[in-house]
Symmetry: C3
Subunit: 247 residues, 3 copies
């Protein structure tokens, strides 16, 4: 049993955060929240999303799992205007999801959850540095790195108490330095890791520009990015594996 009503913008933010990594996913319809965990085909990037029951206008679920085509569901959510509510109802017998938006009814065929890649376990890492940064700063650093390289470095300078988003190209280098005044919070520690820029660009696309992003970082360790949406009732954690530094 699953029946819910949610604002189109909250639904879109939720779907976007997952669709940057995978085309299909399992959605867990837990009693108190909707939850998605997914990993990209190359096992480099993971996402862990929860949307609390309180984020919905109404929410009733009993723990089922459905498989969905994300781009299809995003297209449907895209038919709604910003203020519109989206009604979702699962038909257990036909295994179809009925979606209603202001007089528009859409019947979405679901995918067998067993045919979808297994949900990953997001490792519980204890990373030494934590940076809280505005989404716009992160966006600026990623755009700058993209001018010179396919890789991006995230680094904390413990002495200066600064966070660096940097990239080294064949001839040119770029470095965005963010100090205490630019950051929302900084808990410095030994942290310097290199990542694939493509993945971080995709994750960044889903992060609302007004979001506060918590970055957990170590030395040649995965990075965790955490942000909230839906008035704090939607939670996204991305984890991205590091590239080996070659210098």
């Amino acid at each position: 049993m699953f029946q819910a009503i949610v604002s189109a913008s909250t639904l879109r933010d939720a779907l976007d955060s997952v669709s940057v990594l995978v085309d299909e996913c399992k959605i867990r319809l837990n009693e108190d929240e909707l939850a998605i965990r997914a990993v990209d085909p190359a096992n480099v990037g993971m996402v862990d999303l929860t949307l609390d029951a309180a984020a919905f206008e109404s929410y009733e679920a009993d723990g089922g799992v459905i498989g969905v085509n994300l781009s299809r569901l995003e297209d449907i959510a895209g038919m709604a205007n910003t203020g519109d509510l989206v009604h979702l109802e699962l038909d257990e017998e036909t295994r179809k999801l009925h979606i209603q938006i202001e007089g528009l009814s859409y019947t979405l065929a679901l995918i067998d959850p067993d045919s979808i890649r297994q949900e990953p376990d997001i490792p519980d890492l204890d990373l030494p540095a934590t940076i809280v940064v505005e989404g716009t700063h992160l966006d600026r650093g990623i755009k700058a790195a993209d001018m010179v390289s396919d890789h991006i470095g995230l680094r904390v300078d413990e002495a200066d108490e600064t966070f660096h988003i940097e990239a080294e190209g064949d001839t040119d280098d770029v470095d965005l330095e963010l100090g205490r005044d630019d950051l929302i919070d900084l808990s410095a520690g030994p942290a310097d890791s290199l990542f694939s820029l493509d993945y971080l660009k995709d994750m960044n696309k889903a992060i609302p520009s007004d979001a506060e992003v918590t970055v957990e970082l170590g030395e040649e360790f995965p990075v965790k990015l955490h942000y909230e949406f839906g008035e704090g009732m939607g939670h996204v954690t991305y984890m991205l594996a590091p590239r080996i530094q070659s210098d």
Copy 2:
């Protein structure tokens, strides 16, 4: 003899309604109106346009016929700003159309009308259902149908007094239901026909979003779409042949 002055936006609305179906057309320069009838190469969609002499700032014509390249004429009209007036004057000897827009003179070579496909007779059908709907609703239904299929169904539910824009895909279905409250007017009757979505999408592109569209519909019969522009002095009727339903 043909000499006329018309607002750029009225001219553009007129040209757009025809150019979605054909690249070239005959324009009849009647004494009291400018008139175009055209059918697409596959004989599936027809358009019948009239623009009253009163829609022009000034209009003088004596019943000639000219052949024009529509995209060329649209490009020229596109050079005008919204408030600009377009001056049109036919040079009978050179068979060229002189177009003037705020100091810009354009000399357009005309096409021999005899080389253009014959104008269709728009059949005078007596269709059992008539729906008057806002252009924005039609647009929404067409966009929704486009997510799942190449065909679109238009149907009246006589019992519920509702108009349905619907489509059946391989796995997913979509149905926009418009009741009396959503419609400007409904004269219910037995009406359920299937159409090629490509044609309806093209016609829909030309319909101004604030237009009221009158839809005349039957059972497996052509649909007629009628709307006005140019402050009610321009009239467009589209007719679209049905596709055979397969169920």
Copy 3:
């Protein structure tokens, strides 16, 4: 030695005026101005740019020459917001240009100036007609010509005291007539020349829409286009070779 601070918008206007003709250029870091001269690979279009020291927030230079990749430098300037200041500093030893914009550091590898095509001498022509026209009028004439031809004619009618931007296509013609009322200034003289539209379109892209453009013109002679930017402290002169008229 070179160290300067300049507004992002002034830097962008300067770079754009040169990058429409060439990919790489020499920049002369004179004591009282930054100067660029360049000619396109086909030797058809030339640009002569100077940006006075007064156009900078601060400017220190001693006459060096650097070679730069223009699109790279434009990308970096594109990272700045409109109000941002761009800090430029030359590292003589590493031959790299350090660029700083609001916490973002970019290290740009320079190009050996000797590997860049030689700077042209801009001939000092005494052309018989001078027209001063708003950038928007020039833009309109170029767009109109582009509808019918690959060439564009610029002509002064001495008797009517009008400036004509015109083009002859295979079947259609276009003529934008600008009289004394449309022009900022006109010093009439015998002037009628034909140019490649592609070059003029590129030059026009760089001209700010609110610029006053001074056009110097003769009979089958090159045209000179002059405009200013950066509050009158940046100066651009384009020179474009004529095409031979065939009538």
